[in-house]
Point group: C2
Chain length 188, copies 2
């Protein structure tokens, strides 16, 4: 019989983040994460395939925020406006979980393999956003270009936000980067 | 004593491309590549760390084309114009080696790990292009945004070029994508 552990997933995630931050991702084992959370390894594997998965388990939800942000834009919105709405929705999510977002970013930044994994996940999000634009009737190459440019805006604004904890908030940095994109694309 | 083999690197590359195309990347061993080239495994490892390296050995040269394209733009060029010049230089290189470029793209497209590796390489190129823009005095976030948007233009134009062997040439697709970027960024 499986014993019910209150909030096992959250406790495992918190324990993993603590340990990755203290010792570095490579140096932490699943057994140590489970022990810190007061749970068994078996319980860990009920929630996560491996320790890396703890960092990327939220990726589907992240993608969903982008996709529904694009889908829910008014019909009159230009493609970049639909994507901008999605970026602001994602920003709101990150601002609501700022501490976790900053810890996660620091863990990922310290490890080349994790940075590559993050890059691949963001490329998958760009591809899903392009699909969402096509469902709004946007043709190619505009759909893929808008999605890729939008994700570039997000990555750059996010990196600036992480680099300056006391700087402007993420939504403002996204607005600035969108303005900047317009200028650079116009050859300014 | 090492026996000199005329054009060993080129013969190994050609043998690898043939075998990857015939059987799929996963199914080919280094021993088979060496045998097809009429060389030894030892000779293979003098040129390449592993079979994947055969596909990515040109990446440094590719990055160099972008970086010097940006550096050699006239001082008066806007950041996106400097990047556009680099994209056209890369297009000229691909058009000069069209057969190899198309075979390589087909091999990479068929294999998720190779697609991820390609994505990571292109992100490295974007980062080098941003550095080249900073050396021209472009500040951030304009430098990273222009580099990322430029590489997005390249990826999308390149994918269209690969998808349509009898379609417009790569330089023309890049020009179209740059125009499209301007339109989408402006909210058209």
């Amino acid at each position: 019989m499986v014993r019910w552990e209150p909030n096992a997933r959250g406790r495992l995630g918190e324990a993993a983040f603590e340990l990755f931050t203290e010792r570095g991702f490579e140096q932490v084992t699943v057994a140590e994460i489970a022990e810190r959370a007061g749970l068994t390894e078996r319980t860990f594997f009920r929630y996560f395939a491996d320790k890396r998965e703890v960092l990327f388990a939220g990726a589907d939800g992240f993608q969903e925020i982008f996709v529904s942000g694009v889908a829910s834009a008014p019909d009159s919105a230009a493609p970049i406006e639909a994507v901008a709405g999605a970026l602001y929705a994602a920003a709101a999510m990150f601002l609501a979980h700022e501490g976790g977002a900053r810890r996660r970013a620091a863990i990922i930044a310290a490890h080349p393999d994790l940075r590559e994994r993050e890059l691949v996940k963001l490329a998958t999000v760009a591809s899903a956003v392009a699909d969402a634009l096509r469902r709004r009737g946007v043709t190619d190459p505009a759909a893929s270009l808008t999605a890729e440019a939008g994700l570039a805006v997000f990555r750059i604004a996010f990196a600036r936000w992480i680099a300056a904890p006391d700087g402007p908030d993420l939504a403002r940095l996204i607005a600035e980067s969108l303005d900047e994109l317009k200028l650079v694309a116009a050859g300014k």
